[in-house]
Amino acid sequence: MSLPSLVPLIGIADVIIGLSLGSRLFLIAVGLSLIFGVLGVLNFAHGGFYMLGAYVTLAVVTNVVDNFWLAVVAGALAVGVVGAAIEFAAIRPLYDRVDADLDQLIVTFGFVLVIHEAVRFIWGSGSYSIDPPDVFNFSVALGGSTFSAYRLVVIGLAVAVLVSLWLFITRTYFGSLVRGTSSDREMASMLGVDVPRLYTGVFFLGSVLAGLGGALSSPLQSTSPALGDQVIIDAFIVVVIGGLGSMSGAFVGAMLIGMMQSLGPQFISAGSIAIPFLAMVIVLLFRPEGLFGGIGE
């Protein structure tokens, strides 16, 4: 394809779609990034958390109360609880080990398998989908293409989450504890910070974010036991590119990958899946701290 004809092909709808894909990725990546930045744990099971959030939301909407937003909250909180439990039982005992990070990675991988099977056991291997909440359940026509209005909601919520997180980390007491502890754990502990409890709290927060991501995305994709595996690799790519530990990095990285996913098929029908991995390798080699490296930026 010659360069001049590239530009007119990028419609505003493609951009919106790319941003909504990015928003979904942001929600799962920011939790992963936060957990890594503060705890030093790369949580392989984060994709599973995302998936769990979607499933719980679906289950609540179908069986408990037909209110999407309540179900989303339920989904996010449920995942938070699961995450905190996992951190307490399986990750906390490992901090003092010499090979802590690798061991924790392996343990979380174990949970990938467990969560996958648990989900399959409870909900079966079929796939489910739900409609967006009625008030947003319509299509928007823009620039010759149409897309679901709900996508705009997701984008908006992602931005809201980013802003809230930023405020939380920079303006609250808990946030300052988080920042302090991540830069020097021992010092923080000596200053009286209950580091283990803080860690569990951060893991809880990160898990809630993943669950929230899954819950909010459930109207846009089908939910099946394969969802966790599909999403975790994308999440890894995003946090590497954005910078492990950086929230704004997660945001920018996610939007980048989202746009790549949206526009990729149009320009390079073959090989578009290799590009994110290539980007990941390049970033790891030349700028391992990512585009925005550092915590709380």
Binding site: G110, V114, R185, A270, V281, L284, L285
Partner: protein
């Protein structure tokens, strides 16, 4: 063992060692007997055991990097696939060429051997740059970049570049029959392939054993224990890791070649991170700090998996079982299965355990004494956290 140089002397030494109680030699002999006997067993069991040997080699190669050098790779499937695709492509495209060259009688065997060499060469060619780039990173970042490389390989293979790899469906591998001196046998025949695999795996395991117990191996362990200290001693840490990476990849590549012949197909799934994870699971379950850990782990993985498959209700959730096992082992029993067996042995015999009881084979026998030697400074069997000397801070 004293070093006699003449064969006669060695043989008689061996003989007396075998007769002298439960020595390593005796176990070696019995192990060899077991392997030979198995060749007369039920066809499916031979297949399962061959599968185990291949996976064991895969894990063994992986562990050279992980257990011995401290680098966790989540992308070793790349080399597994490299070996498999190398031999598959040669068999598919160069088969007729060789048939013309050496006659269609022995050409399948020749093609297979050449294919194996090509697969191995391909793997090394890929491992050199991939390894060089990867060892610039440490710990989690190393895991991430190897994961990325593995998945990069996956996405490239499924694109079917130059029509070579046949995309998601993979390449079918048909080994063919060899006609020699009036008789003919299928290379892919269960027992034939088993014999082939045993020979190759034993040779590769022995090779790995030699590497691990050589100065090269000692340097690996030194780097694992403390890269800073090793560096202060004048070791080029990065270069050494790179070399280890290449060797590790080569071993996995050999396993990949064998896998292609066994599975009759070279598929892109081999380089997917979920396949790389099998090496991790097998090694951790077996006990990464022992030479035989990956082997025992592979055994556990395959045979428990097979055992579960006998019960359809459990079979549906086998992943759950292994996930839980993995978590349990990492949390409470880092020594893994091998460590557990050793503890069991120690407990059963009180304090009587000594050097004499080590078995040295690749088929699941213990390698206790050799393990004690191989684990370097200050290492004893139990808890990994105590065994490792400091590696610097962990934040």
């Amino acid at each position: 063992m004293s070093a006699s140089t003449d064969t006669g002397g060695r043989v008689s030494e061996f003989g007396s060692a075998v007769a002298d109680g439960w020595t390593r030699e005796r176990f070696g002999l019995l192990g060899a007997l077991g392997l030979i006997l198995l060749a007369f067993g039920p066809s499916f069991q031979i297949y399962l055991f061959t599968d185990f040997l291949v996976v064991a080699l895969f894990a063994l190669g992986f562990n050279l990097l992980y257990g011995y050098t401290g680098l966790l790779s989540f992308g070793h499937g790349l080399f597994y696939a490299g070996g498999a695709y190398g031999v598959a492509i040669v068999l598919r495209d160069l088969g007729p060429v060789f048939a013309d060259l050496v006659g269609s009688g022995i050409s399948p065997l020749v093609t297979f051997v050449v294919g194996g060499v090509v697969g191995l060469a391909l793997v090394v060619v890929v491992a050199v740059p991939v390894g060089w780039l990867s060892v610039r990173l440490e710990e989690i970042y190393f895991a991430l970049i190897t994961l990325a490389f593995g998945m990069l390989g996956y996405s490239l293979i499924i694109q079917d570049p130059a029509g070579l790899t046949n995309g998601t469906d993979g390449i079918i591998v048909l080994l063919g029959s060899v006609d020699i001196g009036g008789g003919s046998f299928r290379i892919g025949a269960r027992r034939t392939y088993y014999a082939l695999t045993v020979v190759v795996v034993l040779a590769a395991t022995y090779g790995t054993w030699r590497v691990v117990n050589s100065p090269f191996g000692t340097v690996c362990k030194a780097i694992r224990e403390s890269p800073d200290r090793a560096s202060a001693l004048g070791i080029d840490v990065r270069h050494h890791r790179w070399m280890t990476f290449i060797i590790s990849a080569a071993i996995v590549g050999i396993a990949g070649v064998l896998r292609a012949g066994l599975a009759s197909v070279a598929s892109p799934g081999l380089t997917h991170w979920s396949t790389s994870a099998i090496a991790v699971i097998a090694t951790v379950i077996g006990g990464a700090t022992y030479f035989s850990g990956p082997i025992v782990g592979a055994f556990v993985f395959l045979y428990i998996r097979w055992g579960i498959s006998r019960f359809p209700t459990l079979e549906a959730y086998w992943e759950l079982f292994f996930g839980a096992l993995l978590i349990g082992v990492v949390l409470y029993f880092k020594q893994g299965a091998v460590g557990g067996l050793l503890l069991l042995r120690d407990r059963l015999l009180g304090d009587g355990g000594g050097d004499a009881d080590g078995g040295g084979d690749a088929d699941g026998g213990e390698t206790a004494s050799s393990d004690e030697r191989s684990r370097g400074t200050g290492a004893t069997a139990p808890a990994d956290d105590e065994a490792r000397t400091d590696r610097g801070d962990n934040s």
